[in-house]
Amino acid sequence: MIFAGCDVGSLSAEAVLVNGGGEILAYKIIGVKPNPVVSATLVMDSVLKQVSLTYNDIDYCVSTGYGREKIPFAQHNISEISCHGKGAHWVYPSIRTIIDVGGQDCKVIRVDANGDLKDFVMNDKCAAGTGRFLEGMAKTMGVDISELGPLSLKGRTPVPFSSICTVFSQLDVMCFLSEGRTPEDIGMGVSKALAVRINRLVNKVGIEDDICVTGGVAKNKAVVKALEEVTEHKVVELNVDPQIIGALGAALYARERFLKLKEKE
C-alpha cells in the first residue's frame, strides 16, 4: 500500500510517500511556482519517479499547506498544524512541543501523548521570527542562506539588533558590516534575534519536553542552538529532514483515513 502527503507552503513544496507501515519510501522538496497546483503536481511527479510509481499506485493522498484545498490528486486535506503534530510525533513519539519555522510564518504546536493537537499559536503577520527574516539578513550579508548557519556557529560576540523588524534589521546589518563586525558575529546576532522573537510565541502556549524544530529554518543549526539558549530547553534532533514533517504528517493521515475507511467497508 502507498500513501502520499503533499505540503505546499509559501516558499517550498514537499511530497512524501509512505508504505502501509508508515515507513518513508521517498520524499522530495522543491521551490514553489506561483500556482500551488503546479507546485504540488511537480513535486508529486518527482517523488513518484524516484520510486518508479504512478498516481494510480497511490491508495490515498492528503494535502496540507496554503494551497491544500486546490490539489486535484488529493482525496482529503488537513491543516498543516495537525500534520506537523502528526509527523513529528510519529518520528519521535515523546515529542510534545513542535516549533515550526517556515518561510513566511512560525507556529508553536503542542501535542498530547497520542500526537493529537492540544494547543497552538501562530505568527503570519510579521516577517520577524520567520524564514523571511533569515533570507533578508543573508541577502544583505551577501551569503547564501545555506551558509548562514555554519558561519553563525563560528561567531563569538553576537551583534545587538535595535528592533525586531526585518527591514530595520537589514539596515542594522549594513551598519555592522561598515563598522567592520565579522559576518560570523553578525550571523550569531541574527540567530539570536530570530530565537528571541520565536521564544515570545513559545511563551504564549508554553513549552513541554520533548521539543523539536521543524520547517526550513530547522536546518540552520545556529538558530536551533540559539533557541535552546533562550528557551532553556534542549531541542531533539529528528532523524528525518525537518522540512518534510508536514508532508509526512499528511501521508500518515492518508494512511489512517484509508485504513479507517477499509474497516467500515
Partner: protein
Amino acid sequence: MILGCDIGTGFTKAALLENNSLKYYTVVPTNANPDKAIEKVLGNIWESQKMELSDIEEVFITGWGEEKVSMDHVKVNLVNCIGKAAVWATPTCRSALHLGAQQSMVLSINDKGRVIEFAVNDKCATGSGRFLEVISAALEINVEDISNIIMSADKDLTISSQCAVFCESEVISRVNDGESVANIIAAIVHALGRSITTLAKRTNIKKDCVVSGGLAKNKAFIDYMQDLMKMKLKVFQPEPDIIAAVGAALHARGGK
C-alpha cells in the same frame, strides 16, 4: 553662529543659526560614518559660507550617530530638538509629527512651547518612511514620483499584509495579476497614513500641527493625512528634513 546637527542612520542634517534665524543648511549621506559626515558638513559650510569651525561658537548634535562623533559638541535630545524647532517655525504649534525614514514620532506641546508628551514607533517599518521606499523599489518607481503617480489611481484596493516584507511580495503579485501601479501605491500610502494616525492618537493632537521628516515632502501622503486627521498640517519650512538640526542649534543660550 551656532551649528546644529542631526545624524540619522541614512542622512546627516546640519543647520547654521545666527541669532535664532536660519543662515544655512545642508544634508549629506551618513554612510555609517558620523565623523566623515560631519567633515562633509564642515566642508559644505566652508564652500558656501567661507566659515571655519573656529567661526562657530557652539556645536549641538542629536540623532543616532551623536555618540560616534569625536569632535567637541553638546549632546541634545531628539524629541526636544523637534519640539523647539516646531515652535520656532510655528509659534502657535501645539503638536508635531516627525516622519523620518526609520522613526515616526508624535509630540504634544504646551502653550509655553514645552514638549509634554510623545510617542514613537521605531520598531516596525510598516509605520515609517522606509515602508514607502521598500514598496517603491519593488514597484520600480521613485519615492519622489508617488504624488504624481497616485493621481491616476481609480480604484480602492485593500492590501492585506501588515508587514513591510510581506507587503513587498503582495505588491509584486498584484502587479503580476495586472493591477495598476497607481492603485497599488495609493493603497500603500493609505495604509501608511492609517498606521501613523494610530500612533498620533496616542497623544493629544491639537492645532497647529507641524509635520516634518522626509515623508512631509510627499504631497499625496500629506493630503491624505490631513483628511484622516481632519486637520491642516503645517509642513516645516524651508526643508522638512532639517527640523531636528534646527532644533539642536536652538539649544544655544538665548535660544528658545
